[in-house]
């Protein structure tokens, strides 16, 4: 169960080897999380994330391997994670994401398919099964990692940001659909985070580290706010950016 500070005990992380997911998992384990099931596509990375979770206080960890390249396995993977927890699940983190260099892939249909699958379609199908199971148990929380990039999609990453935008908007409605069920969904919208995913990108204002994001998540889980911005100031920055006329927005994002 969650405690008064929104600290969960049994956690499932889809995309559990990503740097942000690992930073969040470390903080959760240092608080109250004792059972953690991590799902991802690289066994070695998952094993090291699981070992890290134990180091930070988890007493039971397990891993599930999957590819997010087609959606047919998504429901089954979620079920496998829940069964490996073997108890009520307090928090499901959806941390799946794929960021490729768009200029290299935008004309390649199969690469575009991969981006849309990983950033949108697979998470949506996984969320359907997550929702069903949590509503059935009558409690639980979902944290979906979106991106501030989804708030105003810019040209240099319209595939990634556009897919995230689809996920983000869908989750807003999904969160509403959960009202009165005992289950809640929160969105995390981080800015650019220094991690493996963003290696080599040109620097952007308000860039943060993964631990800062994880700290914002812990606060967000405690307060229960529906959208967690990281850093928090981006709520206001994007409040302005989203309404900028297109020519101005194109100009200020020209080299990004």
């Amino acid at each position: 169960m969650d405690n008064a500070f929104g600290q969960p005990q049994n956690v499932v992380v889809l995309g559990g080897s990503s740097d942000i997911a690992r930073a969040i998992t470390r903080k959760l384990c240092a608080a109250r999380a004792h059972t953690v099931v991590l799902a991802g596509r690289n066994q070695q990375l998952l094993d090291s994330a699981a070992a890290e979770a134990q180091e930070y206080g988890a007493t039971k960890t397990d891993t599930v391997i999957f590819e997010a390249s087609h959606t047919t396995n998504a429901g089954h993977i979620v079920s496998e994670c829940f069964e490996k927890v073997g108890d009520r699940v307090d928090l499901v983190i959806v941390a799946i994401g794929l960021l490729n260099n768009q200029f290299e892939i935008e004309n390649d249909a199969s690469e575009v398919n991969e981006m849309v699958m990983a950033n949108f379609a697979w998470p949506v199908v996984a969320l359907a099964e997550t929702r069903r199971r949590l509503v059935e148990q009558g409690s639980g929380r979902i944290l979906v990692i979106s991106s501030v990039a989804s708030v105003r999609v810019r040209r240099s990453m319209y595939l990634y940001a556009g897919a995230k935008a689809g996920l983000d908007r869908l989750c807003v409605g999904l969160a509403d659909s959960l009202e009165g069920t005992g289950v809640t969904l929160q969105l995390l919208r981080p800015g650019v985070v220094r991690s493996r995913m963003t290696e080599g990108q040109s620097p952007v204002p308000f860039t943060t580290g993964v631990n800062e994001v994880a700290e914002n998540v812990m606060r967000g889980l405690a307060s229960g706010e529906r959208v967690i911005w990281s850093p928090p100031i981006l709520r206001y920055v994007f409040g302005v950016l989203r309404h900028l006329p297109a020519p101005i927005f194109r100009r200020i994002t020209a080299d990004r």
Partner: protein, 443 residues
């Protein structure tokens, strides 16, 4: 239909199906459905003890019977009757509850389930010490239990937060009073050590004793305190002896205050005024029973002052030979700057045999802490370690954040409890969000 339920601290809400049986037979029927289930009274436990997400919460509020009070002061009450309702009838007849917590808004069932204590614990013990017998409906059927009839089940139920079954009625021994007033001695202390020394030396001369401690002041005034001690006024000790029933509260907090209202600054200011407005030393002041015992009942829904994020109450007790643990806890709090609006210190007398009953001979400190400061969770985890090291424990009725391994260390008799629970609840139907969180009863 699902109902959203909170504890009094208004953290961690959960959705449950609420049923309100009005007879033992209906309670039996509810158990027969096989759903996971927990009893609930007026919802005054602070955390998640009386809620069960996705399960059935069985309210006792329709169990409202009340026998006449016999000439020895023994009364049999439906488990949903509150101390408030009992006092309305009892005080005019010259009887008072033997134990009352800081609010009258607790039911008989809840008072046993939490084994509540009051300002007289050092003399009279906790609530269950005055229970002659009770009816308990468990998944295996109804039982009449008392310290003599099935004492095992009786003492397993005391303090067990509803996890052995639904208490449907309680037979209680009341205490005679001559007036509806108490005579109060008040004293101010500049240090925590000072007030603790006085409590250790002189509490035994009073039936009631409690100290309010300022956890926000630092340096030389760390832990300054106001100590109030009282005894019931005899008829010849007041000018016009009366026996009037308590009045209903008129002041209501109609909506949630902004979450930051009670912050270190405002609390420090309040504490300063509170401390200075109290007399340095005053003897024999006559106060009404409700002013002395239930000051917060004067404001309905006062928990909303803590805003939407709610608050946690941290209450621990430590053995008599560990007063330093109390001092260390207050030091840790005052140095972390976490605001505590109310800190209440009191001495406990002997424990009763309740397997999960909270009080142990020594000291107890209770603190109200608004949720919000990001340091709070780890500060409280540090306090847990201090309390454990001193051989103490924290109170399930207040808890909303303890770690499961620490709950077991604090309540070493939990396995005895589980063995008795197994006898009456072999299918593990009785559980709660608290029991799940603290892993008290398995999955």
């Amino acid at each position: 239909m699902s109902t959203k339920l909170y504890g009094w601290g208004r953290t961690a809400p959960s959705f449950s199906t609420v049923v309100e049986p009005d007879s033992d037979a209906q309670v039996v029927n509810e158990f027969a459905t096989g759903s996971p289930l927990i009893p609930r009274g007026l919802g005054r436990s602070y955390g998640d003890a009386a809620q069960l997400s996705g399960g059935v919460v069985m309210s006792n509020l329709a169990l409202r019977s009340m026998s006449p009070i016999d000439h020895d002061g023994v009364v049999t009450l439906g488990a949903g009757v509150s101390i408030d309702e009992l006092l309305r009838v009892a005080i005019p007849q010259g009887w008072f509850v033997p134990v009352t917590p800081g609010t009258r808004q607790v039911t008989m069932g809840g008072a046993v389930a939490a084994d509540v204590h009051g300002k007289n614990h050092h003399v009279d013990g906790s609530f269950a010490n005055h229970v002659r017998s009770m009816n308990l409906v468990t998944p295996s059927g109804p039982h009449e239990v008392s310290p003599n009839a099935d004492p095992e089940l009786f003492w397993a139920t005391v303090g067990a937060m509803g996890l052995t079954g639904m208490i449907t009625s309680v037979t209680l021994q009341l205490m005679p009073i001559e007036t509806d007033h108490v005579l109060v001695d008040t004293e101010r202390f500049n240090t925590l050590e000072g007030v603790m020394a006085s409590m250790r030396e002189r509490d035994d001369a009073y039936q009631y004793s409690v100290a309010w401690v300022d956890c926000m002041s630092r340096g030389a005034h760390m832990g300054r305190a106001i100590l109030t001690r009282a005894t019931h006024a005899r008829a010849h000790e007041v000018q016009e002896p009366t026996l009037d029933a308590p009045r209903a509260s008129k002041v209501v907090v109609p909506f949630d205050a902004p979450s930051g209202l009670l912050n270190p600054l405002s609390v420090r200011a309040f504490n300063e005024v509170w401390f200075r407005s109290s007399p340095k030393f005053q003897e024999g002041e006559a106060q009404s029973l409700s002013a002395f015992f239930h000051p917060l009942d004067g404001v309905r829904d006062w928990n909303r002052l803590y805003g939407k994020k709610g608050f946690v109450q941290y209450q621990f007790c430590v053995p008599d030979d560990q007063p330093d643990a109390v001092v260390s806890c207050v030091e840790r709090l005052s140095s972390s700057g976490v605001a505590s609006f109310l800190a209440v210190l009191k001495r406990f007398g002997p424990s009763n045999p309740g397997l999960l009953s909270f009080p142990m001979p020594g000291w107890t400190l209770a603190l109200d802490l608004p949720v919000g400061p990001s340091a709070l969770p780890s500060v409280l985890d540090d306090l847990d370690e201090l309390v454990l090291k001193a051989g103490g424990r924290i109170y399930f009725a207040k808890d909303a954040r303890l770690a499961p391994q620490n709950a077991r260390r604090m309540y070493p008799r939990i396995d005895e409890f589980l063995a008795i629970k197994e006898r009456v609840d072999p299918r593990h139907q009785l559980t709660s969000d608290l029991a799940r969180r603290l892993q008290l009863v398995g999955k």
